[in-house]
């Protein structure tokens, strides 16, 4: 497994893989790899002849009061995680490699970035789309792998790829959860044991929402109130609990199409997100 820390080095890997006619998969990450990333890697290795995992804690997607400095960077562990899983190269550039001078060019996706995490984290998605555009141009993958855990990011990146005609496919892999239902996240390590127990309330809220939906409830507000109650009783500080159109991300009152149920909740000072999709596969008996 090659470890490339410069753009020239990873481009040399890419050229060599291309010369061998290999399909190229990119798994963009910020490191601190867990089983969620593991699922992305597994899919990439199964579907592509050459898999690159990028590890870059991207400064431009963090707000001034966010956890950029604190974000875990266990590089040795991450490399040891990738190696036996069949990753061909890790691209782990420095901030100076990625932003050698003041970045003046930004890729912005309108509207889709206004709500949900975008509302509380201004500039976050601009940082995400810009660094993804850079990674796509550096690695030129055939397929890039993202986790459904970051549901809004997935919609935004898909839109960027479509709107800018990036010659690649986006593959989205399901959320991977701990045994008690907590979605895997590099930020879970911030939680104290007591907070870790309470953190399961996000998943519990989504499960209750799904059950109530399956029983026929189509009123977004009712489902939102149900979820808010569960989270608040567990001591979670709600940033948002939203039910939105799965494509436009616009709020929905009556669930008459595919929707995304999305949560952002602080447990102590740790911000956690989780989500689920609700599909209208049931007869609309109780709308």
């Amino acid at each position: 497994m090659k470890i490339a820390s410069t753009i020239d080095e990873i481009r040399e890997c890419v050229r060599s893989a291309r010369r061998d006619g290999k399909r190229l998969g990119l798994v963009p990450t910020m490191g601190a790899l867990h089983a969620g990333h593991g699922a992305l890697i597994e899919n990439a290795v199964r579907e592509c002849g050459y898999v690159i995992v990028s590890i870059f804690v991207n400064p431009t997607q963090f707000g001034p009061n966010e956890d950029f400095a604190q974000y875990p960077r266990p590089f040795e562990q991450d490399a040891a995680y990738c190696q036996p899983r069949g990753v061909d190269a890790i691209f782990a550039p420095s901030a100076e490699q990625m932003y050698p001078r003041c970045q003046q060019t930004w890729v912005e996706v309108e509207k889709l970035t206004d709500g949900l995490c975008g509302a509380a984290r201004p500039g976050h998605f601009r940082g995400v789309t810009t660094v993804c555009a850079k990674l796509f141009n550096i690695v030129m993958p055939d397929v890039a792998y993202f986790g459904q855990k970051d549901a809004q990011q997935v919609v935004v990146i898909r839109r960027m790829v479509d709107d800018l005609n990036f010659p690649l496919m986006i593959r989205v892999c399901p959320i991977v959860r701990e045994p008690d239902g907590l979605a895997m996240s590099s930020r879970n390590c911030y939680l104290s044991p007591e907070q870790r127990q309470r953190a399961v309330c996000l998943h519990q809220a989504l499960e209750s929402c799904r059950q109530t939906f399956d029983q026929g409830c189509r009123h977004a507000n009712e489902l939102i109130e149900l979820m808010r109650g569960i989270i608040e009783r567990a001591g979670g500080q709600i940033e948002y609990v939203s039910i939105v159109d799965a494509e436009t991300l616009e709020p929905v009152e009556t669930i008459d199409r595919r929707v995304l149920v999305a949560l952002a909740v602080f447990i102590g000072s740790t911000r956690l997100i989780d989500n689920c999709l609700l599909d209208l596969h049931l007869p609309e008996k109780c709308v």
Copy 2:
């Protein structure tokens, strides 16, 4: 010569050229081809094994009161211009091909787009950078050719390519002029015979500027006043006459580095631009 009107068609051309191991050159144009484009094509054909000329009057770079509807679209002539010059394919997409739904993703270059043409044409460069990003992703050229006539565009595109790590080279070709010095432009056809004569004042202003600079003048304001006088005496309506740092495009008072002298002037209702670069190759005897 292939004429491709869809993204799929031109990508098939690209794939086939790549299979043959050819170096790919892109000449992005809005059509109404003239000898200025001819010079870009000539360089591309000399340097690349496969040359694509894109012809697309890009709606997103025109302001609401600009000449989008009026802009000349002599497609048959353009195709006849390309064919004998060794162009391998024309990519002439419809607006629906390039913008199949409401564009929500924009590439923006900060600061460099604030002044000069950017000041009078808000959104213009956002349209230019976005469509170039799209064209680069569709064609994936090794080299893209631009004319120095659009001096600010060249600086902005170069910055975009650097900042977003597009895997290509930008080649800039010198301004091509009519015998009397008027810079070639698709918009020259808007000029009446009388306006056409007066239009030479842009070039005359730049020439006087250069002479005075060569004689040792390093005061930007003096040179600007000189040029304004020449243009105004010819009845040109000045949008801007500026002397700026050739890289940052920030106004310069004393010419102590490489500068861009840039003009935008209305002759009647036709907006013309022209420019020249001043280099400090002379001893600084008279600063």
